[in-house]
């Protein structure tokens, strides 16, 4: 084999030290976006370069890594990042939420509750919650510094004025530790309550935007809302077609070109565990048979 030998977890030790310093600062100031010298990674921006760098910086030889993309362990992005660390760090990988010590995620928080000692690493495309309202970085930083967050409510106001309810369904702004307003990355707002008072450490890495932020364990995270339009979770009103769960976040899967669709858990690990425990949905009773088209 003539492949080059990589340093443990791909990044060199100096870079990892730099990222760890940013992470420590982020943990010390919950919700504050810490700038860091993001590196080029062997993957395109938008594929999780921020999350990968955070994972690389915190990974140790004894860690067990799980990677999910939209809740799923078996999509391209999840598999390639898992393989990447399997190869460059030689760490054990898993799909089980409870067995993992480090979970890198894109767009979801696992259904199974996280426990103390775990680290959840989010891939973040746009870390600045005020960005689409205030394009100037100098101004948004000042607004964070002075806790001027009226503008965030302007966005929610616009939602209600236009749609009659707060229509923001993902990247729903939260206030961390009663101080910083934070973008929870594009997770569905269904997951927002899971961030509050969570036992696990939550780290957020934005590679292109060069920002790291964090929510330490057991920190209050409040979703912003109005008194007369309180925050609500949203899920499709259906049980999972595979495991019958009626409390998990669902993906809608189009099954044919005649309007057929089914709803299944977005968290594949959660769904599989439930099926293994004997829960069944409408579609899982028998192996799929080819449907004859009329």
């Amino acid at each position: 084999m003539n492949a080059p030998t990589y340093n443990f977890a791909y990044l060199d030790e100096q870079t990892k030290r730099m990222i760890r310093r940013a992470i420590l600062k982020a943990i010390a100031i919950p919700g504050y976006q810490v700038p860091f010298a993001s590196r080029e990674m062997p993957m395109p921006y938008g594929w999780g370069t921020g999350g990968v760098q955070v994972t690389a910086a915190i990974l140790g030889p004894d860690d067990v890594l799980k990677v999910i993309d939209q809740g799923s362990d078996d999509t391209t992005n999840a598999i390639s990042i898992r393989k990447f660390f399997g190869k460059t760090a030689g760490v054990a990988t898993t799909t089980s939420t409870t067995d993992a010590t480090v979970i890198q995620t894109r767009h979801r928080i696992p259904e199974a509750s996280l426990h103390a000692g775990q680290v959840l690493v989010y891939q973040v495309p746009i870390p600045e919650p005020l960005r689409f309202l205030e394009p100037r970085e100098t101004e948004t930083r000042r607004m964070h510094a002075l806790a001027e967050y009226g503008l965030m409510h302007v966005k929610l106001y616009e939602d209600i004025a236009r749609f009659g309810h707060i229509a923001t369904a993902y990247a729903y702004p939260v206030k961390v530790n009663a101080r910083y307003v934070m973008d929870p990355s594009p997770t569905p707002k269904f997951d927002n309550p899971k961030m509050d008072n969570c036992a696990a450490l939550q780290l957020f890495g934005a590679g292109r935007e060069k920002r790291i932020y964090a929510i330490p364990p057991y920190t209050t995270v409040v979703s912003l809302d109005f008194e007369d339009h309180p925050f609500t979770r949203y899920r499709f009103n259906a049980p999972c077609a595979l495991c019958g769960a009626d409390n998990s976040y669902l993906d809608e899967i189009v099954t044919d070109d005649k309007g057929g669709r089914m709803f299944v858990c977005s968290d594949t690990d959660f769904c599989e565990q439930r099926q293994a425990a004997g829960h069944h949905g409408t579609e899982s009773a028998a192996p799929h048979k080819e449907k004859a088209h009329v």
């Binding site: 000042r142 001027e148 503008l151 302007v154 106001y157 616009e158 209600i160 236009r162 109005f226 008194e227």
Partner: protein, 265 residues
Amino acid sequence: MSELSSLENDEPLLLAEGLAKNYGRLAACRDVSFALYPGEVLAIVGESGSGKSTLLQLLSAQLAPSAGQVSYRMRDGVLRNLAELGEAERRFLFRTDWGFVHQDPAQGLRMGVSAGANVGERLMAVGWNHYGRIRDTASTWLERVEIDTGRIDDAPKTYSGGMRQRLQIARNLVTEPRLVFMDEPTGGLDVSVQARLLDLMRNLVSELGLAAIVVTHDLAVARLLSHRVMVMKGGRVIETGLTDQVLDDPREPYTQLLVSSILPP
């Protein structure tokens, strides 16, 4: 507001002392001192380049003066030097107790969000957290500035120039400021729209007992709105006095020129 006690009126709201601003060798503004009292409207007139806008920026703490200082009587009655306020305090003052009406409404409004949100932003910034109440207050203010409340959900980019300017005024007045700065508020509007806007502003100013500092090159605006006039030339205040006194009986040759350069009606 007639109920203002004479004691309050005796104490200036804003005090400028020896204000100067130099850009290198260029003195944009020199040795300007005056006091503005609650409920008083002061017009600053002069030709382009006379230092009016620089002075307005100095007074509203957007520029740091090269010399001199500006003090403002806060709501608690204490006169404070603006240069000594922290940035948080200054910004808070700016979006609660002060208003700033820009000549170009695009600078003072968020052109992409609805009129209701534009008016409500200041309320949300001071902690209002009830959608219904914010919206009611916003529509009341749209009515007061004569904007059809049916357009509350339209963005100002769909508004005409005159409507934008009225919306900007509503957005500034919603927190009931005590002092409003206006930079050429009627610039760029056609004559009939100007007249309507001036009428509206005059009513609002007297209803709310606002103090205002209006920068304008249009003497008609000064005559209609202001109680007092300051004439500027080359960065200096060359004449100051009651509006009708200065405009009807100008003392300085430059002011005489300025007044006589208006076509008689």
